[in-house]
């Protein structure tokens, strides 16, 4: 315990990024994630890094694109409306196969929405970060420790697969403080022979590009990318199972919703209800097989989320719509209480109506 410090989730992300070797951060202020920018503004000049407040989210993600082209670790962070603006850049990063780390500390939407916690960018993150066929690695921390751990992991995965890792957090995760340990064994970055750092007149010029005017060439680049995605789906899935051994009711929840659900599960277990939880840590790739296996025993799946059933769709797909399904959600910045989740569990159990 002695080496643990109390940190806000947002600050844990920032410090973990620095530890992972990130020396370039670009961003634009937006609640509830501005602590990341403030932290970077303070630290980067002292370690020879670069913090730059961009004129817009669009400029920030394109500055990320520039640094990523040189092969260095780089990140930006924002909250929901700002991530929409970054959608253009996310698509270009994918098209040019550039690694980067993007943080979304979600708030309620749509539109300007509110500033309180939300998970309603699930679709955007897992299915439609921008135009075109592409995926991002979507990592969903459920504690301040995971905010830090997944930041380091996010950089490593981004470099490994030449794609964007997105940390999909929410206002609660960003603002809360918990003890964290920031001791990491940072692996060296992979070689990046594709980086645009100057030919030094020693090699052919490198081109970072997402334009393919010949449809067959563009198709080929898409298919190659999806081969990589397939490999990732088989090898990089992360999730936590909680009391699932004998579970007849399976809760699906991530981030803050999973924290609330745990309280409810403890209460329900005290009442003898066989309930457990699968907590996806990677939202893409989604832990399909874990849910598929759970469907062998569980009769009902309850998706606890801060959105209108966005993840529930993936749970249904993973379990081939074989079970009963319930949505337990609050939106707009509201968070379901453990009592609300417990009531859903009891309803699923055929008990209290």
């Amino acid at each position: 315990m002695a080496d643990k410090v109390l940190m806000k989730g947002n600050e844990a992300i920032a410090e973990a990024a620095i530890i992972a070797g990130c020396r370039h951060y670009f961003g634009y202020p937006i609640t509830p994630q501005t602590e990341i920018a403030a932290y970077m503004a303070k630290r980067m000049p002292k370690i020879g890094g670069c913090f730059l407040q961009a004129e817009s989210e669009i400029a920030a993600i394109n500055m990320v694109y520039g640094v990523a082209s040189t092969g260095l670790r780089v990140m930006t962070s924002s909250s929901s409306p700002g991530i929409s603006l970054k959608g253009e850049g996310l698509s270009y990063l994918a098209g040019a196969d550039l690694p980067s780390l993007v943080i979304n500390v979600q708030r309620g939407g749509p539109g300007l929405g509110g500033i309180q916690p939300s998970q309603s960018d699930y679709f955007q993150a897992t299915k439609a970060g921008g135009h075109g066929d592409f995926r991002m690695l979507v990592l969903a921390p459920s504690s301040v420790q995971e905010m830090a751990d997944l930041t380091v992991k996010g950089f490593e995965l981004a470099d490994k697969y030449r794609m964007t890792s997105m940390i999909l957090a929410d206002g609660t995760m960003g603002q809360m403080m918990e003890p964290v340990s920031l001791e990491y064994d940072i692996k060296p970055m992979p070689e990046k022979p594709w980086a645009t750092t100057g030919t030094k007149m020693e090699r052919e010029h490198n081109i970072v590009n997402s334009l393919f005017l010949q449809p067959d060439a563009l198709e080929k680049s898409n298919l190659e990318r999806f081969e990589r995605y397939k490999y990732i789906e088989e090898n990089e899935v992360m999730y936590e199972e909680y009391m699932m051994d004998d579970a007849e009711i399976c809760i699906a929840a991530f981030g803050i919703a999973a924290r609330v659900a745990k309280n409810a599960i403890v209460e329900a277990r005290n009442k003898g209800i066989k309930v457990g939880m699968i907590r996806p840590i990677t939202l893409w790739p989604f832990p399909t097989k874990a849910f598929e296996a759970a469907a062998e025993k569980a009769h009902t799946f309850i998706s606890v989320e801060l959105s209108m059933g966005q993840m529930l769709e993936d749970v249904k797909l993973a379990t081939k719509c074989k079970g009963e399904y319930m949505l337990c959600s609050r939106v707009g910045g509201m968070i379901p209480s453990p009592e609300e989740v417990l009531a859903a569990i009891e309803k699923a159990n055929g008990g209290a109506k």
């Binding site: 643990k4 809360m176 918990e178 924290r259």
Partner: protein, 177 residues
């Protein structure tokens, strides 16, 4: 003690978040599992501020305190808003210098302490929050000089080291009243 859930509530500027942070650090120093969650947004600036602190022997589930074991109310709107949410048998600390009414609940323990007045009387107008923290530690147990000092050192930046003594003094005032 398995788990204690604290809710600190008052005006922005009363040091609500700071006193919560102190308790969280103290818990950390005592090898407890802790979480600290502030309300955030424009309400921080002059409106009501609140913060949830959980100290536990087991991993903390939801960091949101909706049924506090301990409520600290530093203004009337906070008492009005949260009085009913306190668990039966829980404890409410009331800054009686700012809240004239009494707690209506009869199934909770209540401590009235004129923290804001004590603070200004003792020349430390910004430390009513820590006077209440002193009171909490005295009434609920847990005043441990070593961990209190260690936690204070964590929450007070090195630049303001002179505030350490004043904070200790404030907590002592709280414990004695």
């Amino acid at each position: 003690m398995a788990t204690t859930q604290y809710l600190f509530a008052g005006f922005g500027g009363q040091g609500i978040l700071f006193s919560g942070k102190f308790l969280a650090y103290k818990g950390l120093t005592e090898d407890k599992q802790v979480s600290w969650l502030p309300s955030y947004g424009p309400e921080m600036r002059g409106g009501t501020a609140s913060c949830s602190v959980i100290l536990s022997d087991t991993p903390v589930g939801s960091p949101i305190v909706s049924k506090p074991d301990v409520l600290v109310a530093m203004n009337l709107p906070s008492l009005d808003k949260y009085e009913d949410s306190v668990v039966s048998g829980g404890t409410i600390f009331v800054d009686s210098a700012l809240i004239e009414r009494k707690v209506k609940r009869t199934d909770v323990n209540v401590y009235y302490i004129p923290a804001t007045k004590l603070a200004s009387d003792n020349g430390m107008p910004t430390l009513a929050n820590m006077i209440i923290v002193g009171k909490i530690l005295k009434e609920l147990g847990g005043y441990n000089e070593e961990t209190v000092n260690a936690a204070l050192k964590k929450v007070i930046s090195a630049k303001r080291a002179d505030m350490l003594e004043t904070n200790l003094k404030a907590m002592n005032i709280g414990a004695e009243n």
